[in-house]
């Protein structure tokens, strides 16, 4: 019969040789492989103590961005909510009154902005849809929780720290993506 692949091999049914019959020899051969693995590099990452760097394109928890002066970029247009395949984003728009120009970049802003992290599938379509560069997916994975209610992330969980009032935390959030100084 013609074989299906070129790598087909006839099964060797010849009687065992003396060394094979000794049995212990093959055990030693196997144990030698086991022994060699003791001295190999250990692949395990001891997770809570030691963390693996994520890829720069990793899509984790969302973050609502601010501009250089610390004004919220989001204008509550709702394009992210429309783009969201899981319908996880809810928002409520409000109009900026005079005196709030230092808080919000546009004339309309999101008074309430909620993402249901249990629904969210971290696809990044909100990020793609956003015309104002206001929402980004960060390299932080969403933490687990005991109750459902802890998963509705509001604006206080999502908004990036203020770059002027809270520069240390802002730098932490920006991480290695900080821009080099303009005149450098």
């Amino acid at each position: 019969m013609q074989s299906l692949t070129s790598r087909a091999k006839q099964v060797d049914r010849s009687p065992m040789t003396v060394v094979e019959r000794l049995y212990l020899w093959n055990i030693f051969k196997g144990m030698w492989i086991t022994l060699k693995h003791f001295f190999r590099k250990k692949p395990t990452i001891h997770y809570p103590e030691e963390k693996r760097p994520f890829s720069p394109v990793f899509r984790g928890l969302h973050i609502l961005n601010r501009d250089e002066e610390g004004r919220e970029r989001c204008t509550a247009c709702g394009l992210c909510a429309v783009a969201c395949p899981a319908e996880a984003i809810t928002m409520e728009a409000a109009e900026r009154v005079s005196g709030e120009e230092n808080k919000y970049r546009e004339e309309k802003y999101a008074a309430r902005y909620e993402i249901n992290m249990l629904r969210c599938i971290f696809c990044g379509l909100c990020e793609e849809a956003c015309p104002k560069d206001a929402i980004y997916l960060s390299e932080t994975f969403a933490p687990a929780n005991y109750q459902r209610k802890g998963f509705i992330y509001g604006k206080d969980d999502l908004l990036i720290p203020h770059p002027k009032e809270n520069p240390e935390e802002y730098q932490k959030a920006v991480g290695s993506r900080a821009k080099a100084p303009a005149n450098a």
């Binding site: 692949p43 395990t44 809570p48 720069p56 899981a86 249990l118 980004y136 459902r148 932490k172």
Partner: protein, 192 residues
């Protein structure tokens, strides 16, 4: 395109490794503590998971069990495929409404004390499948202890959820089963 921001500092996990032992009276060559704490410690470090994997989150669970993340470091070397011997049911993946009675039956077959972890968006809330055929979260049929978001969650996130289960088991009272709160919870799901 690289994003201008890297981390969400408000969403970072707060679960820590517990390295010191329980409170107790220590002397030279002996240590006494309450039975609750010893049993909690033993149970916490020998949770046998039952993977109820119906889709892609199961693949991520396999990565968690493999040598890079190695869930057996937490005492769950043995993945049981029989509900009778397992302590933690990990439901991973979309549960269709036709599957719901099966999930429930598997839960009922588990021996007390039992815990349930919903891994991934589909198991915890239905995810993108807001349709007639998909159960909108397994907590409609069985009580869930820990939810792990993500689609699918990273192995780190699964370990994070697992450490939360460990925390629950560690602080669990020996008489939890007979407490009114637990009975009420079971009655709410129609489980005798």
């Amino acid at each position: 395109m690289a994003r201008p921001v890297q981390y969400n500092i408000y969403g970072q996990t707060d679960v820590k490794l517990v390295k010191e032992g329980p409170e107790g009276y220590a002397g030279e060559g002996f240590f006494t503590t309450s039975l609750d704490k010893v049993v909690g410690l033993a149970r916490k470090n020998s949770i046998w998971p039952l993977p109820f994997a119906t889709s892609c989150c199961g693949i991520e669970f396999m990565a968690t069990m493999a040598s890079h993340y190695d869930l057996s470091r937490f005492g769950s070397e043995r993945v049981g495929f029989s509900p009778r011997q397992c302590d933690l049911m990990m439901v991973m993946g979309t549960i269709a409404k036709k599957m719901a009675p099966v999930v429930r039956q598997v839960y009922l077959q588990m021996a007390e004390p039992r815990r349930v972890m919903a891994v991934g968006a589909c198991a915890s809330s239905g995810g993108i499948f807001d349709t007639y055929s998909v159960l909108q979260g397994i907590d409609q049929v069985i009580p869930v202890d820990v939810y792990v978001p993500g689609c699918p969650p990273r192995p780190e996130a699964i370990i994070d959820g697992f450490m939360r289960v460990q925390e629950l088991v560690h602080n669990e009272s020996l008489r939890r089963r007979t407490s009114d709160k637990y009975k009420d919870l079971m009655n709410a799901y129609g489980i005798q």
